[in-house]
């Protein structure tokens, strides 16, 4: 099972919205992945495990995990394109 980690600055508001929309996207597409949400500081912890990070804040490049912007899922602007890219990532990752 692939894990998508949704991140915002404080883990308070925007990560919940983005995670909800990604769960809806996965359900609609019949795709399966674990969607977790958290704040940026979680990324710096020792037990970071994720196949993809979707973030509404800039994320350090050094993590070695692919990062997508959460903004399209948040604002709806470019959401379709971002959703397609996310599903394509999961397809590739499952190969």
């Amino acid at each position: 099972m692939r894990t998508i980690l949704v991140v915002c600055g404080t883990g308070v508001a925007t990560a919940s919205v983005v995670a909800g929309r990604i769960r809806g996207l996965l359900d609609g597409a019949g795709a399966v992945a674990t969607v977790r949400q958290g704040k940026l500081m979680d990324l710096l912890g020792p037990d970071l495990r994720a196949d993809l990070i979707v973030s509404t804040v800039p994320v350090p490049d050094e993590l070695g995990i692919p990062v997508m912007s959460g903004a399209p899922f948040l604002t709806g602007d470019g959401a379709e394109q971002a959703g397609t890219a996310l599903l394509a990532f999961l397809d590739r990752a499952d190969d």
């Binding site: 883990g11 308070v12 508001a13 990560a15 919940s16 973030s55 509404t56 804040v57 800039p58 604002t75």
Partner: protein, 166 residues
């Protein structure tokens, strides 16, 4: 949301005490006025205004949505009651964009979620974001001349979408 406090000071979804229409000044002025409303009406701890200002510096919340807006918020530790504080600005105000690298958006609408339960309030915050992509629904808020009119417009905008946004 889950707050059913019988002593709630107003029955409207977004009471006038959480609204500030046509606020003059810059970003920091708008944030101060709105955070102060939330504090004075008993929604937050005294630590909230400083926390929400600091958070905006660390993690900007400007959104280049159809209706350009900002969504300033901070940790649940500073919030006592869930709600939404709403401001319009006298002139467009510059905010840095969320997740951006220094990009600026000029906003006339500032929506400040008072979050006590991130999971439980996801639907409410999603409804807030939906409004920002609907110029027609947002127009009455931007046209409101005073706090009372803004309260009526904001409550109407959210009523059919999030029953009991609090």
């Amino acid at each position: 949301m889950t707050d059913r406090d019988a002593s709630a000071p107003a029955s409207r979804i977004i009471p006038a005490e959480l609204c500030a229409a046509r606020v003059p000044g810059r970003r920091v002025d708008v944030l101060r006025v709105l955070a102060r409303r939330a504090l004075d009406s008993g929604y937050t701890r005294p630590s909230f205004p400083r926390a929400v200002l600091a958070r905006e510096l660390d993690w900007p919340t400007g959104l280049a949505t159809v209706v350009p807006s900002a969504l300033p918020h901070t940790d649940t530790a500073h919030v006592l009651r869930a709600g939404l504080a709403v401001a319009t600005t006298a002139e467009p105000v510059e905010f840095l964009t969320m997740g951006g690298r220094g990009e600026v958006v000029r906003v006339s609408l500032v929506l400040m979620p008072l979050v006590t339960d991130p999971e439980g309030q996801t639907a409410a915050i999603t409804a807030v974001l939906d409004l920002l992509s609907d110029r027609e629904r947002a127009a009455p808020l931007l046209e409101a001349a005073d706090d009372e009119a803004l309260s009526v417009a904001a409550s109407a905008a959210f009523a059919s979408h999030v029953p009991g946004i609090r």
